[in-house]
């Protein structure tokens, strides 16, 4: 790892002030640190935001759950409030990485990184999340821009993620056998306003599958999407799964999710 300057910010303001074109925010560091170790990323300044108290914690209101950006996966997995209101979200958190990762990794870090195979981005899309930053509010549907790309600007820091509580929901991950990231993860959420079927792992960036959602709006049962075929032409293909296999998994995982709702 190349040497860097370490800063610990006491609030979002200071974090922003410290940031530059050659800096990175550090929360759990579960992606940033391995990337730096492998020489895939180098920074002059690392700005640790773990000590900003305001950024951590869970609060539930009538219609939504707010989760602070530096809240760890374990905390989401074990939160009684979340288990009660959106159990699929706590089970998603419980299935991220391994215990070590879950004890360090944070929701804000996962979303800001926008790994094409990460779990949380699908929750954001399915649960109509609003991402609150130190500068503005961004709807999830406008947040995830492409592979490892988000609407965040340099120095912009996620503070909280607000999820809409659905009527019912389920996340079904088909894990990569090696990394246990999602080869395909399908997050189905039924809201009063409609149905979201958010897919991670299958394409370079998380997305809502409109066709599956439409079929489920007319009848929310796995039968209504059984036998549907999704287009594999712009899906990821690697040694673990071809595009064609991923396309098939999108439907099977969506069916499982509907059944588990």
């Amino acid at each position: 790892m190349k040497t860097f300057n370490y800063h610990s910010a006491k609030d979002s303001k200071e974090a922003k002030k410290l940031s530059s074109s050659n800096s990175a925010f550090l929360a759990g560091g579960m992606t940033t640190i391995p990337s730096m170790k492998l020489g895939l990323a180098t920074y002059k300044d690392i700005i640790d935001i773990k000590n900003i108290k305001k950024l951590s914690g869970i609060s539930v209101s009538g219609k939504s759950i707010k989760i602070g950006a530096t809240t760890k996966h374990t905390e989401v997995a074990n939160s009684k409030e979340i288990k009660k209101t959106i159990p699929s979200l706590s089970s998603l958190a419980e299935g991220i990485g391994d215990p070590q990762v879950r004890n360090r990794g944070t929701i804000g870090g996962s979303i800001a990184n926008n790994d094409p195979a990460a779990d949380y981005p699908s929750a954001c899309l399915a649960l109509n999340a609003v991402i609150h930053t130190n500068e503005r509010k961004i709807e999830a549907s406008k947040f995830f821009k492409g592979m490892f790309e988000t609407a965040l600007k340099k120095g912009e820091l996620i503070e909280t993620v607000e999820f809409q509580i659905p009527e019912k929901s389920s996340y079904q991950k088909y894990p990569n056998p090696a990394s246990r990231y999602a080869i395909v993860g399908v997050y189905v959420a039924k809201h009063k306003s409609g149905v979201n079927v958010a897919i991670t792992g299958a394409k370079p960036c998380v997305y809502n599958d409109k066709d599956l959602a439409k079929a489920l709006v007319s009848s929310f049962s796995s039968n209504s999407i059984s036998g549907m075929e999704v287009n594999s032409s712009n899906m990821n293909s690697d040694i673990h799964a071809s595009a064609e296999f991923r396309a098939s998994l999108v439907v099977t995982q969506a069916k499982k999710a509907v059944e588990a709702c």
């Binding site: 790892m1 190349k2 040497t3 088909y174 990569n176 056998p177 090696a178 990394s179 990231y181 040694i239 673990h240 799964a241 071809s242 296999f245 098939s248 998994l249 099977t252």
Partner: protein, 792 residues
């Protein structure tokens, strides 16, 4: 005193390992040490046109930078193949030079070219980026099936062919095939694996300029052999000035048999730079440069009668050696593979023909099982295919072809001293509830799942021996083992063994057998291994040889101790040595109550006199002291065998394979410690199941390893494995006094065909290749659906 052989003695190693008190090579730090970082080829095949180290030499903290040029100037020799194999036409095998640092050509990604020594690892690594190397990139030879038609990698090695080896009689096989009712044909690949020892390779080297001694701490399965090669072939230092220590080693699985480039380079360089050196591989370096395993393409044919009798067998294999031939690289796909390919069956005629080829990939060498998993996979898959084509039950066809009398002369080489394959398979069938399979299958089908059952019966040849035979077959050394047993004056015992424990629990097993032989409490026995300055020469641990060869050397040394003890006790008890019996640690004069404990005898041996009197307890001419050594060279290999049965449940929608049940019934002869043996079986099974279901080392067409991290190389995990159902049968080995056979590799030999036979059974006989990944299985399930729809 009750015998300890056969009892579940708790591991002496546990306290050390479970409390973090193990001492591994990377734990060793020497005052004033420098840190080594190797510059490696990023290309699979290239000519080196220029190496410029001037910038790196000036970088912060750099002590020195050395290249292949320096190696050549100092006439340091390279790595070698330990076995000379001849081709069918009688010609010698062809091996390229493998210098410790590549000077002119690089032949796989990770091939080391230069090394930087610096005051800190960070500085060494930073400076390594300043070593400027120009390459002329050449087309890499990667595809194994095309390698013989591709560009020639090494000068004067036509078709990239190391040898074209034959064992068996082609004519007899032809005659057998002419008589057959049916010929079963099978094409299989034995997937390439990366051993993935938990501890990456490492070495710490200390040179003492006053004594001119080099001490190399390293992650080796056989430190004496490393010293021999480094001295005799590397010319690093004479053996008496070179000490190799392999302290606690965190797994080897064959990958740490070899002496590697880094150990030679650091040992040589520590003298050159007169500083201690520390090198620890990063995980990526382990993936790239540890020797890999397996990697065969095989076409096999089995000639059968309509009622399922085997008449003859052909095995045509191309084996990948990788870029260079290493210590066991050339023997693994020949003598460790070819003879075992006829399996446990009476096979009137057979041959194995193996073409070993070079490719621009990491060297391939022994990996847990070494040749025998490949052989067992070949025969056990084709036997199952025969059962399918003949409409027979897989157990029935096996039973029909088992030998029933022992010793059994196996078709190609082995004279198998003992075994009972019928009893093993019967027991496995019962334990696996084979008859209940159809009900379980129905149950799975009612849930929309497929279910399959798979059977394997294997034998393996381990503890390679005897030395004159193995040397006649081309081995560069004898494969005996040594032991030395030393009593302290106060009665405790230290046993020095040439075997090396890197997970096998020798400290416990060997102490159990020494305790039984000497009648000394196990807590008074220490096992010492892994240091060339301590024990006599040893051959190390691989090929399930430690107990059957190394353990017996200990038994024999103990017997010599007892013999001397009898002579001394006789003198002390004023009896004839012939009248002295030894039992439970006591020398007793027949028909009397006169006795001496072995502790008293040891004491007398070291204090052979009485104060104020001229009197010795030692017989005339007997030397003082109580210490004996033995070298054991068994009369033959040992031949463990077993029957395994697996059941899988497949989700046809996702291709997920759930290994639902696994029964293994093994015959390891006498079992010294059942807990340790079960652990060995569990570990072997996990690795064998890994090969069948998940593991695959994959290179792209340019020779880049694309499975070079745990993000992509799929290790088996606990949730891939069922609760193992283990059983044992016992036919004792006749070639050693304990009746023991090897057990370390059994699981990795038996599991791949067992699991694959089960999967293929679930897929109605549709062939798929290892590893049976979800996507492959999903595609097979789609085909199955199509075929079924057509049939309907």
């Amino acid at each position: 005193m009750a015998s300890l052989v056969g009892s579940r003695v708790e591991r002496k190693e546990d306290k050390r390992f479970l409390t973090g008190k193990g001492r591994y090579t990377a734990d060793i730090n020497i005052n004033n040490q420098t840190y080594a970082y190797f510059v490696r080829s990023p290309h699979a095949r290239a000519k080196i046109t220029k190496i410029d180290i001037s910038k790196a030499l000036k970088a912060s903290g750099v002590v020195d930078v050395l290249t292949g040029e320096h190696i050549a100037k100092d006439k340091i020799g390279g790595l070698i193949a330990g076995w000379a194999i001849r081709s069918e036409d009688g010609s010698e095998m062809k091996c390229p030079p493998n210098p410790p640092l590549a000077k002119d050509n690089v032949n796989f990604v990770g091939d080391p070219i230069a090394v930087v020594f610096a005051e800190s690892l960070e500085e060494a690594k930073a400076a390594s980026e300043l070593v400027n190397i120009d390459y002329k990139i050449l087309k890499a030879v990667v595809n194994l099936s095309e390698a013989m038609k591709d560009d020639t990698i090494h000068k004067d090695i036509d078709k990239n062919l190391c040898y074209d080896w034959l064992l068996g009689d082609r004519q007899k096989v032809k005659e057998a095939f002419d008589k057959a009712d049916k010929i079963i044909k099978l094409d299989i690949t034995n997937n390439r694996l990366i051993p993935n020892a938990m501890e990456p390779r490492a070495c710490v080297v200390d040179y003492n300029s006053a004594s001119e001694e080099i001490t190399c701490y390293t992650t080796s399965q056989n430190p004496h052999l490393s010293r021999l090669i480094m001295s005799a072939f590397g010319g690093v230092a004479p053996e008496h000035k070179l000490r190799v220590v392999a302290p606690d080693v965190g797994g080897g699985f064959g990958s740490k048999i070899n002496l590697y480039n880094e150990e030679i380079v650091c040992s040589w360089a520590s003298k050159k730079i007169e500083r201690p050196i520390k090198w620890v591989a990063e995980r990526t370096e382990s993936f790239l440069t540890d020797t890999h395993g397996r990697d065969h393409i095989t076409h096999a044919e089995l000639a059968v009668t309509n009622d399922g009798k085997f008449l003859g067998f052909k095995n045509e294999t191309i084996a990948n050696l990788g870029a260079y031939a290493r210590v066991f690289g050339t023997v693994t796909p020949t003598y460790l593979f070819g003879p075992c390919a006829t399996g446990v069956y009476v096979m009137p005629a057979a041959y194995s023909n193996v073409k070993a080829v070079y490719t621009n990939t990491a060297p391939v060498d022994a990996y847990r099982g070494a040749g025998r998993p490949e052989a067992t996979y070949t025969i056990e898959r084709i036997v199952d295919k025969a059962a399918i084509e003949l409409g027979m039950d897989p157990i029935e066809i096996r039973m029909k072809n088992f030998p029933t009398e022992f010793p059994f002369k196996q078709t190609l080489v082995h004279q198998i001293d003992s075994g009972d394959y019928v009893a093993g398979l019967k027991k496995a069938k019962e334990m696996a509830d084979y008859d209940g399979f159809s009900a379980r299958k129905k149950d799975s089908e009612s849930k929309g799942k497929l279910r399959g059952i798979g059977v394997t019966t294997y034998f393996e040849a381990c503890g390679i021996a005897p030395s004159p035979v193995v040397m006649m077959l081309g081995c560069g050394v004898g494969l005996w083992e040594s032991a030395e047993v030393r009593f302290n004056p106060t009665g405790q015992v230290t046993v020095y063994t040439g075997s090396h424990s890197h997970g096998q629990s020798h400290q416990t097993t060997f102490a159990q057998i020494a305790a039984d032989e000497l009648g000394v409490p196990i807590e008074n026995i220490d096992i010492v291994h892994g240091d060339t300055d301590k024990g006599t020469f040893g051959m190390g641990t691989y090929g399930s040889r430690s107990l059957t060869v190394g353990g017996i050397a200990i038994v024999n040394a103990c017997k010599k101790i007892v013999d001397k003890g009898k002579r001394v006790a006789a003198k002390m008890l004023e009896a004839s040595p012939d009248d002295v019996d030894f039992k439970n640690g006591e020398f007793v004069v027949a028909n009397s109550n006169k006795k001496k404990t072995i502790g008293e005898v040891a004491f007398a041996c070291y204090l052979p006199g009485v104060r104020d009197e001229v009197k010795s307890p030692l017989p005339e001419g007997e030397e003082p002291g109580l210490k004996e050594s033995a070298f054991f060279d068994p009369a033959n290999f040992s031949f463990p065998a077993g029957s395994h049965i697996a059941e899988v449940e497949i989700d046809p929608e996702t291709g997920e394979v759930k290994l639902d049940r696994y029964t293994a019934v093994d015959d390891f002869g006498t079992i010294v410690n059942p807990t340790i043996v079960e652990g060995q079986v569990h570990g072997g099974l996990a690795q064998g199941i890994g090969q069948a279901l998940t593991e695959n080392a994959e290179y792209d067409e340019t020779g880049q390893l694309i499975t070079a991290s745990y993000m992509d190389y799929t290790m088996p995990r606990a949730d891939n494995l069922p609760e193992f159902n283990l059983g044992f049968t016992c036919t004792k080995a006749t070639t050693n006094p304990l009746g023991v056979k090897g057990c370390g590799e059994a699981g990795s030999i038996g599991a791949p065909p067992t699991v694959m036979n089960a999967i293929i059974n679930a897929l109605d006989g549709q062939e798929i290749q290892m590893p049976a990944t979800a996507e492959k299985v999903w595609r097979a399930c789609k085909n199955l659906k199509k075929t079924k729809n057509k049939a309907a």
